[in-house]
């Protein structure tokens, strides 16, 4: 097989001095599925942006089908048959699927767009590549999995031979992921080539022919997938062995710490987002909340932490009602919260690490005494936590902005864990952080559980929920449709059926 694309000695230095790629050699052969893996910040997105013409390399050459090419912009990339499906879909919500697919190079009839032709084209593409879509459905009414297929079809419509998929499974359910993989195989059978960016090693093993591993802007491995194990790839990614399996002692369920009764939340738009939610979290257990994103998990967490007011129902922490109370009151009742959207809620980028670490406790002794705030105590506190939680930064006075995603998350974890909560609510605690920090967060969560704290873990990463939780509550359209005991006999597929609303428990036990 000949190399379809060769990127030679690619170096990318950003104006702020960050070196994203250092002399990277990368090649993809015609007709293969090539996985590009690495931790966040390893430089894989930058490399692909260079290939797609979104970024200009500082040094290096790109060769396509044996010819040297310049790709100054995505327009040129598309001309050359390179298509990219971004992690964040770029579709017009109010347009139909067919309209979105032909957008920008519409078939015309006179001066008008030929809608019938657009639909016919869409159907044909859909059939050829086994990517099922409904051409006349509006994007806003279609599920995430279908939107992704639309994105893929869009690039195919523009004549892409090489498809770059940027973390395509991040938003999919297991079933949807299976379907995507089938579609990718069909594409390759039809002569297309696929670059698959991911950090999920299971997927690398399942789908790819070859894998390129990046770390700190350099290539650390280039292997045929069948020759290596997941652990091998992980080692290339982080430079050391990682524990992929989490060891935890059997659950020792204690008293009920948190109880949610008939909780309902109606959004400002009048849309009911949470409906009759019932569950309880016991001391010494991790209750996982699984579900496709956008089924009310975000709102559940925000209602429980006081960031949104509950419309109906009760939330009890240690028997005391806390619904519709201020975030401070709820924190004082012993609830800590690792927020889903780290940059919006979890940190202040323009404040120092020390300040970020006391946002929930600055007004209490020893930080404030007789009304006077002590910067020294706040600094000392930060030094202690930075050491304890292995936060890598210049010092307590470094701005939050200067930290990597993983270290930012460690700051949040350090603050919330050191608050000594009875109930810890962790929402997407490892989203966008690298393997090292993920492992750290997982270990910390299990430690808290073993210490007898109640942990509520909300995550869109089903593998994460299944490896950490003792019980799993599944959310679908604002309701808890099942609460399942986690064990070896529980499969991803079974949870997936609940996540998609195909199945639901007859009686979701009231406060099980």
């Amino acid at each position: 097989m000949a190399a379809l694309v060769e990127m030679k000695q690619i170096t990318k230095v950003y104006p702020n001095g960050v070196v994203a790629n250092k002399g990277v050699d990368f090649s993809v052969e015609q007709g293969e599925i090539h996985a590009l893996v690495g931790e966040n910040g390893a430089g894989k997105s930058t490399l692909m942006k260079i290939l797609y013409g979104l970024e200009a390399p500082t040094h290096g050459e790109i060769w396509l089908r044996g010819r040297r090419v310049e790709i100054p912009n995505p327009h040129r990339a598309i001309e050359l048959g390179i298509g990219m499906v971004h992690q964040n879909f770029m579709l017009v919500p109010s347009f139909t699927i067919a309209e979105n697919i032909v957008l920008g190079s519409e078939p015309r009839k006179g001066r008008f767009i030929d809608r019938a032709q657009a639909i016919a084209v869409t159907e044909e593409l859909s059939k050829t590549y086994g990517l099922q879509v409904d051409p006349t459905a509006r994007i806003e009414a279609t599920p995430v999995g279908m939107r992704q297929r639309v994105e893929i079809l869009k690039t195919l419509y523009r004549g892409a031979d090489l498809l770059i998929l940027d973390e395509p499974t991040a938003v999919l359910t297991p079933q949807e992921t299976d379907e995507l993989f089938m579609a990718i195989r069909t594409l390759v059978n039809q002569g297309k080539t696929v670059i698959f960016i991911t950090h999920k090693l299971v997927e690398v093993k399942e789908i790819s022919d070859r894998v390129t591993v990046m770390r700190h802007g350099e290539v650390t491995g280039r292997v045929a997938t069948r020759d290596v194990t997941e652990a091998d790839i992980a080692r290339m990614m982080v430079g050391r062995a990682v524990f992929l399996q989490i060891d935890k002692p059997p659950v020792q369920r204690g008293r009920v710490v948190a109880e949610v009764r008939n909780l309902g939340y109606v959004a400002e738009t009048g849309r009911p987002v949470l409906r009759n939610v019932n569950f309880s979290v016991h001391a010494g257990e991790i209750l996982g909340v699984a579900g496709v994103e956008g089924n009310g998990q975000t709102e559940l967490v925000e209602v429980m932490t006081g960031l949104r007011p509950a419309t109906t129902g009760e939330i009890l922490v240690d028997g005391k009602p806390v619904q519709r109370q201020s975030p401070r009151r709820i924190r004082l009742s012993g609830v800590a919260h690792i927020p889903e959207d780290r940059l919006t809620n979890g940190v202040a980028l323009d404040a120092t690490i020390a300040e970020n670490l006391v946002v929930d406790r600055y007004n209490r002794p020893p930080f404030t005494q007789r009304g006077v705030l002590s910067p020294q105590v706040i600094r000392k506190h930060a030094e202690t936590l930075m050491q304890q939680f292995d936060i890598r930064a210049a010092g307590p006075d470094a701005l939050m902005r200067s930290l990597s995603g993983g270290n930012m998350q460690k700051v949040i974890v350090a603050r919330e864990f050191s608050a000594e909560p009875v109930l810890l609510i962790a929402a997407q605690p490892t989203r966008g952080v690298d393997i090292g920090a993920t492992e750290f967060v997982h270990t910390q969560l299990v430690t808290k559980r073993n210490e007898g704290k109640a942990v509520l873990l909300v995550s869109a990463d089903l593998a994460e929920v299944m490896s950490l939780a003792d019980r799993i509550a599944v959310m679908y359209k604002g309701e808890i449709v099942a609460i399942l005991d986690n064990g070896p006999e529980l499969t991803e597929e079974e949870i997936g059926l609940y996540m998609l609303g195909v199945r639901r428990q007859e009686v979701v036990t009231k406060a099980a």
Partner: protein, 368 residues
């Protein structure tokens, strides 16, 4: 060196460079309009300094010019402190002008309508100015916090209302009909700020101003409220998440800011004019914004920035009097300085705004 250390080092150098560039441009402009540009520019740059003279024994000349500088700076620093408090919390309140007017108005009411012995009368007038400033700031604060009324709009409207109230009361109630202009009779001495430097109008307010700098610094750096201000300014959602009552902080930031603007008004009436007149000092309230911008909302720098800006403004008046260059030229130089400084401040703002939008879009699509 970490980022903060870098900023600490680079900032003063950058500001000085900006000022020098602006002064150089100013000189070019002066050279274009004046027949004796060097002399005129010397008046601008050295005018406010007193001169030591030994002609008839030791003598300090031009003490009144030096006084003008300190008087001007005292007002500017108070206004700069007021603005730096709201800007620190990222509340773009422009209400200092109205708060200052009402502060001055209240001192006149107390001074002319009550008769009390000296320290009590003065202190009561000062307190009245501070209280009205607080309340006039609290209004837009509450509107923003609880009804999401944009503070830029509300404070500008409240400035209009304040100005009309000022004129209304002055015309119909406080004015001295015998005077040849629209103004009150002079305040009784019991309600005038004691003089500090003879031959000038530098008063007790300059000491109060220095105290205010320390108090505001302490408030910002050493109290929970100061921490709350900073966190609100850095990221409101984060502050809320951490348990800070952001509505209370928003309302209080504007109200506390008003106290200082009220004091600035008291300085005009009780210290400089010793009466109330119409057209008290139009636009002065906005000069506090310049001082706060120059000082990056740091009270310690507000002191220096206020002295610098006051010097420039006093020098301008002297240049106007003693050369063929009009004051407009100096206004141009001032404007250039502000332009250079804010342009550089604008850049990080734009960056942040773009980032914010980008992260919001991501959230929307992911949730979609």
């Amino acid at each position: 060196m970490n980022m903060k250390g870098m900023t600490k080092f680079v900032e003063p150098v950058r500001i000085i460079a900006v000022v020098l560039i602006a002064l150089a441009i100013g000189f070019v402009i002066t050279a274009l309009v004046s027949k004796e540009p060097v002399q005129a520019y010397t008046a601008l740059l050295t005018g406010p300094l007193p001169r030591l003279s030994f002609e008839n024994g030791f003598e300090i000349k031009n003490i009144n010019r030096f006084g003008n500088w300190l008087e001007e700076s005292t007002t500017l620093i108070l206004l700069g402190l007021a603005v730096s408090i709201v800007f620190r919390a990222r509340q773009f309140s422009l209400g200092a002008e109205g708060q200052m007017l009402l502060g001055a108005l209240m001192t006149a009411v107390i001074a002319l309508k009550l008769s009390l012995p000296f320290p009590a009368h003065m202190l009561l007038a000062l307190a009245a100015a501070m209280i009205i400033g607080f309340l006039w700031g609290l209004i837009p604060g509450l509107l923003k916090a609880y009804l999401s009324v944009d503070e830029i709009v509300s404070t500008l409207m409240l400035n209009v209302i304040a100005l009309q109230l000022f004129d209304l009361l002055l015309f119909n109630w406080l004015r001295d009909p015998a005077a040849g202009f629209v103004g009150t009779v002079p305040f009784p001495t019991s309600a005038v700020l004691p003089l500090l430097i003879p031959g000038t109008r530098v008063s007790f307010m300059t000491i109060l101003m220095l105290i205010a700098v320390v108090v505001v610094w302490f408030l910002m750096a050493r109290t929970p409220f100061g921490f709350e201000l900073k966190m609100l300014g850095a990221n409101r959602k984060f502050a809320e998440y951490g348990g800070i009552n952001t509505k209370r902080v928003i309302a209080l930031s504007m109200a506390v800011s008003g106290i200082l603007a009220g004091l600035a008004g008291a300085h005009l009436s009780m210290g400089l004019l010793k009466r109330l007149t119409i057209n008290l000092s139009p636009g002065l309230g906005f000069e506090g914004i310049v001082v706060a911008l120059l000082a990056r909302n740091d009270p310690r720098w507000v002191l220096l920035a206020g002295l610098f800006y006051g010097y420039l403004r006093t020098g301008a008046q002297i240049m106007e009097r003693s050369s063929d260059v009009t004051r407009e030229v100096v206004l141009i130089i001032q404007a250039i300085i502000i332009l250079l400084i804010t342009a550089e401040r604008l850049f990080p703002f734009v960056q942040q705004w773009v980032q914010l939008r980008r992260s919001r879009e991501e959230v929307v699509v992911e949730a979609g």
